[in-house]
Subunit: 106 residues, 2 copies
Amino acid sequence: MNKIDWSSQEQAIAHQAIQNAYARETHALIQLINQQASQIHDIGEVWRLHDYLSARRHQIDGKYDERPATLLFVFADLIKEGWLNLEDLQGLDPDKLAKIFSLAKM
Amino acid sequence: MNKIDWSSQEQAIAHQAIQNAYARETHALIQLINQQASQIHDIGEVWRLHDYLSARRHQIDGKYDERPATLLFVFADLIKEGWLNLEDLQGLDPDKLAKIFSLAKM
């Protein structure tokens, strides 16, 4: 998997796909914070929000990794989580797409 | 300072004062979260909220310490920060009150 080459065109598609997924995931998180924070009425809920943000931040910081060696796995995770779809990856060679969708089913 | 005795009546006053200050500080934090979180529009603001909650949680967790040895300092800090006032401490002996308000001015 680590030996897969990415043409400059594919790299551009991959970069845009990562940007799309990041924008969707962070937008959903912002909406969740907007909604949930207005309903907080006790300090325990504040600390639960803090715990939740700690976990999401750690996860988001680690996930959007554009290094070619890990890109297929990153895309597979993003598809599984619903932040990326086939349209975002149009233009990648079919072999890569097959690998990504196969990994996403695991 | 560590040798100061607290009567059982003073301990009850101290306990209630701590409860009052904790309720005020956490209530103010909840209100702040309710207000500010609804105005979050980008992911950088989400992470700034997370950083802010990390700092406040650490500070609040460490501050409300009812051990007699540190109580005068705890009260002085809470007065300085505006979470406690003279009325909350009515019934403590005047010497303790003098020490607390003297520390609060430092």
